[in-house]
């Protein structure tokens, strides 16, 4: 039995997620703000959301659309979803932990705790099933419909009755019966615990009458080693049953836990939606583009900035189409970093199956998100700082694969511009040629100029608003050279002709 609310075909496992890289890009896109808004005070939701974010880069478009469907159902029935989440969490809460605790190394303790746990767990499963089936008509998505079908089929009354019977029969009144054969060196091999049947009860009593040959050994009163050997042999048999029943209890708890964890994601989404509604941020469900490197957005806002400021942020319209390189230049405080972050956050939210804060957002699925931001520390040591940037780039190279998205913010500027631009050029070219998409915020005119004749690039520029307001918007435009000397030289000496502005390719 699988809950399958996160993937069409498998369970979501928070434990298997490795967090390392996720944390590294998190500090650049302020992911924590997003997770905190979704989690509120619920630590489980925080863990699950973090895991979902870390795993987002492996999701395919089917999974994303599958989650979007379930999330739409949840947004329509928030109360019911929150109630199911609370029920699935009962075994793991403080109040009833004893009813569901599994413990013991000795087989008898393990059997006892497992039987009790199973009895309570099945009572809970029955309630969950009844609650879901009572509201069956409210769910339209494939994912939730599947869950209903499974509950109805796998937890029918006949099965629940058989389980209750089994749990009652787990006693050893007839003694512990083991079968074995003679293995190497005379060792008992292939030990199997056998089920005590009524005729085994009578076997002891009527044995002599039936005439089956048997030999009985009685322990000497003070034979401690013998008593030890007795219990070891029995434990080898009881261990089989205790482990089986113990694992069964774990599996049943595992099912409830999986359901709780997967619902935690959707409850987190509900919380986030509540927060955004509260500050007037509108959302939409993003489209997954089937093209390999596509990007287009209308009124894309930085979700984390909105959450931090507590008000609606300024949005941008950008249509990069299939161009895999976006170079952003322009005035300081012009919203370049904010835009860069909004791209990262929206991409992550899309791949998680979430809504995004935009009017429209369409992007390809990426194999990973990497950010390479200028760091503030180590100002004094110029060489050390530049090397530190290269080391971080090398760490990215250790993990990046084709199809990834890399956000550079003022990178490689810790050395003089000609050197920095050359390194940046090599890095960006290698990424582009390896199927990676790059957004690069830079002041290095030398770097931008390298790509003037490249049709894979979109240039964006942040210009101060002529009206003097502080609302910067990015618009498609080439960078402005800080020195005109080179261009002047070219104008006089060279025949190279260059347009100073690219034709606008933005929508809106």
């Amino acid at each position: 039995m699988k809950t399958c609310l996160m993937y069409p075909d498998r369970d979501f496992d928070t434990a298997s997620v490795r967090a390392g890289l996720a944390e590294r890009f998190a500090q650049d896109i302020e992911l924590d703000v997003l997770i905190a808004a979704a989690a509120g005070s619920d630590r489980l939701i925080r863990t699950v959301m973090a895991a979902v974010c870390a795993e987002a880069w492996t999701n395919d478009s089917t999974t994303v659309r599958y989650r979007q469907g379930i999330l739409k159902d949840c947004l329509a029935n928030p109360e019911l979803v929150r109630r199911l989440y609370a029920m699935a969490g009962e075994p793991f809460g403080r109040e009833r932990s004893w009813d569901f605790s599994l413990y013991g190394h000795e087989p008898s303790a393990m059997v006892g705790s497992a039987v009790r746990t199973l009895q309570h767990a099945f009572a809970l499963l029955r309630r969950l099933r009844d609650t879901c089936l009572a509201h069956a008509d409210r769910f339209a998505s494939t994912g939730l419909q599947q869950l209903l079908v499974m509950l109805r089929r796998d937890l029918d009354d006949t099965y629940l009755a058989a389980v209750a019977d089994d749990l009652n029969s787990l006693t050893f009144g007839a003694g512990v019966l083991l079968s074995a054969h003679v293995g190497g060196g005379g060792k008992a091999a292939g030990l199997v615990l056998r089920k005590p049947q009524p005729r085994d009860m009578s076997w002891m009593q009527y044995l002599p009458a039936i005439g089956v040959k048997s030999y009985t050994l009685q322990l000497q009163p003070r034979d401690d080693a013998g008593a030890q050997a007795f219990s070891e042999l029995q434990n080898r048999g009881l261990g089989q049953i205790s482990d089986a029943i113990y694992r069964s209890a774990e599996h049943v708890l595992g099912f409830l836990k999986a359901l709780r964890d997967e619902l935690a994601f959707y409850v987190g989404c509900l919380n986030l939606k509540d927060r955004l509604d509260g500050i007037g941020e509108s959302t939409c469900f993003p489209e997954v583009s089937d093209a390999p490197r596509y990007f287009r957005c209308r009124d894309l806002r930085d979700t984390c900035l909105s959450l931090t400021l507590g008000c609606r942020a300024v949005g941008n319209d950008v249509d990069a189409g299939d161009r895999p390189l976006v170079i952003i230049t322009g005035a300081n405080r012009g919203g370049k970093s904010t835009f860069l972050r909004s791209v990262g956050v929206a991409q992550l939210m899309l791949q998680c199956g979430l809504f995004v804060t935009a009017e429209q957002f369409s992007s390809s699925l990426r194999s990973g998100l990497f950010t390479h931001y200028k760091r503030q520390e180590d100002r004094s040591m110029r060489s050390g700082k530049f090397d530190e940037e290269l080391v971080r780039m090398s760490e990215i190279a250790d993990h990046i694969r084709p199809g990834a998205l890399v956000l550079f913010n003022e990178s490689f500027a810790a050395t003089h511009e000609r050197e920095g631009a050359e390194i940046a050029r090599q890095v960006v070219s290698a990424l582009l040629d390896s199927g990676v998409t790059v957004f690069f915020v830079t002041h290095m005119y030398e770097l931008a100029r390298v790509f003037f004749d490249d049709d894979r690039v979109l240039f964006l520029r942040a210009d101060p608003d002529p009206g003097g307001t502080r609302t910067f918007r990015l618009h498609p435009a080439r960078p402005l050279p800080r020195s005109f000397g080179i261009d002047l030289y070219r104008q006089i000496f060279g025949p190279e002709e260059e347009a100073h502005d690219q034709p606008a390719r933005l929508s809106g």
Partner: protein, 550 residues
């Protein structure tokens, strides 16, 4: 004399062990010329070619500690028969025929499959002996016989897989080819095939016996098994639908004792023997009849092959880490010396276990060149380089594969090492005297066929003294025509004569703090600053394209 007789005593003069009482006892009546009429194959030794064997020396050569070969040998012989193995590793030879004989065996073992065959055989024979040692003092017949049967079964299986494994991989060495011929003859003998056949039949018959044990309170009743239902399977089946992954084998039992029986198990086995008397009578008859079953030549082979297996097992992790090993061209005459991509074996073993990289180095002595004089940065790998040079010569003399992609090495009569001892400020004079005394002794004893390694010998004295003493000693050594390495910071020593070759331990040109541990004849030069940094970090265009793989 029967065809099975083996030349008296092993070449090593090793004890034959309790269980290898010889096949003469087990095979009293095998005819002389069963198939061809010619004498059947004889198998002697994997360590020494036919002829005069050398006697291994019992005590560790003095240079082993300085070269860290003591650590290497300790690691190699750990958990093995040290009394047999240590002397072998302490006894490098100058005889090219012995070394080639062993190199051929190593070459066989390095081919895929052969090593595993030998490893399995050694392991199996150890288990056979452990079983026999355990069975000897057991009182209850059913138990003792069951253990002896297990030993016989393991022995037969070991012989067969050794023979089949060798046949499959076709040994090329003289030693293992002879072994294969010997085995083919042995396993075809009626004595062996009846031993194996009967043991199999009995084991199968016992495994077919099923019995039940019913524990109630302080009693256990043993009876024949009567088709009761598997309880654990019933429970697992009931809750199967909650399982997210397939259930593997039965849960791991707490580490139980599969080898020995306690007295309760022994008593239960005795009951089982009473329930099934025919099978246990047959067992008793068999093990009594075949008490001495281990072949003497194979027993000796087992001891000798451990030399090869233990060494290869020791270097296996290094090979797995892509460190090269090769069979050096050896000569007791020519002093043409070279090695490519060699490394310090003791250090590499440590680094590989810590998953750290190992730096390889080359060296060459050609024509009149005799002495490598190593100068350069501290902590730059100079001492390691000098150890490596000494180790290579010892290992070559043992016939073992040496570190490196290829090597040509002289078979030295002795290896002398003089390494700087731990600083002892209070006793500087004594230390210098002691060092000079030792050096003098070395100079007296060494010959033109020796290898000498000097490592910062006079560091504890004044510079003038160092120059004077070092020059004197070096001149003495160079005059003998011995091979060697001298690690020093005295640049003058590098050009003392035509026999000296200068080598320098390198540092990263871009970052002097970064030690490369390379020792080269020529210094290298660096790239432009930023690009060389980018190159170092692997983020240039070419390196990045190569690193970003789907």
């Amino acid at each position: 004399m029967t065809e099975w007789s083996i030349s008296d005593g092993s070449p090593l003069g090793l004890p034959d062990g309790n269980m290898a009482a010889g096949r003469r006892a087990a095979l009293p009546s095998v005819p002389l010329d069963r198939d061809t009429g010619s004498a059947p194959p004889i198998f002697r030794s994997v360590l020494f070619p036919p002829g005069e064997p050398e006697t291994p020396r019992a005590e560790q050569p003095a240079c082993f500690v300085d070269l860290n070969l003591d650590q290497v040998v300790n690691a190699i012989v750990a958990d093995r028969d040290e009394a047999v193995l240590r002397p072998l590793f302490y006894s490098p030879s100058r005889r090219e025929d012995i070394i080639r004989y062993r190199q051929a065996v190593f070459a066989d073992l390095e081919r895929p499959g052969v090593f595993e065959v030998m490893q399995a055989f050694s392991g199996a024979m150890r288990t056979v002996r452990a079983n026999l040692a355990y069975a000897a003092p057991i009182d209850r017949a059913s138990h003792q016989h069951a253990v002896t049967l297990r030993a016989i079964t393991l022995y037969c299986r070991a012989v067969l897989s050794l023979s089949e494994g060798l046949q499959l991989h076709r040994p090329r060495s003289e030693a293992l080819s002879e072994l294969l011929a010997y085995l083919a003859d042995y396993r075809a003998s009626p004595a062996f095939s009846s031993l194996a056949g009967e043991a199999d039949d009995l084991t199968r018959a016992l495994a077919d016996l099923s019995y039940g044990m019913l524990f109630r309170g302080d009693k256990v009743t043993v009876r024949k098994y009567a088709d009761e239902v598997d309880f654990a399977a019933t429970i697992l089946d009931r809750f199967a639908r909650f399982r997210t992954e397939p259930v593997g084998a039965r849960p791991p039992r707490p580490p139980g004792d599969d080898f020995a029986l306690n007295h309760i198990e022994e008593a239960i086995l005795a009951f089982v023997a009473k329930l099934f008397p025919d099978e246990f009578h047959a067992l008793a008859a068999f093990v009594t009849r075949r008490a001495e079953f281990i072949d003497q030549a194979l027993a000796r082979f087992e001891r000798e092959i451990a030399f090869f297996v233990s060494y290869l097992e020791f270097i296996a992790p290094m090979k797995a880490a892509n460190l090269p090993f090769c069979h050096p061209d050896v000569s007791a005459v020519s002093k043409e010396t070279e090695a490519h991509e060699a490394f310090d074996l003791a250090l590499a073993a440590k680094l590989v276990s810590e998953r750290k990289p190992v730096i390889c180095n080359d060296f060459r002595l050609t024509g009149a060149e005799r002495m490598l004089v190593v100068t350069g940065a501290n902590q730059g790998g100079k001492t390691t380089f000098s150890r490596m040079f000494g180790q290579m010569h010892i290992l070559a003399g043992l016939g073992c594969p040496v570190p490196g992609t290829r090597a040509r090495l002289f078979l030295a009569d002795q290896v002398f090492t003089h390494f700087e001892r731990e600083e002892d400020i209070t006793n500087l004079r004594g230390k210098l005297e002691d060092e000079l005394f030792r050096l003098h002794r070395t100079c007296e004893v060494m010959t033109g066929d020796s290898v000498v390694i000097l490592n910062e010998v006079f560091n504890s004295t004044s510079l003038d003294d160092q120059i004077l003493l070092s020059t004197k000693v070096m001149e003495r050594i160079l005059a003998t025509d011995a091979l060697g390495v001298c690690v020093t910071f005295l640049d003058g020593l590098t050009s003392l004569s035509a026999k000296t070759v200068s080598m320098v331990s390198m540092v990263d040109p871009d970052n002097p703090a970064n030690r490369t541990f390379r020792v080269k004849r020529m210094p290298a030069n660096g790239l432009a600053y930023a690009l060389s940094l980018a190159e170092k970090r692997g983020v240039t265009y070419e390196r990045l394209c190569a690193r970003i793989r789907p």
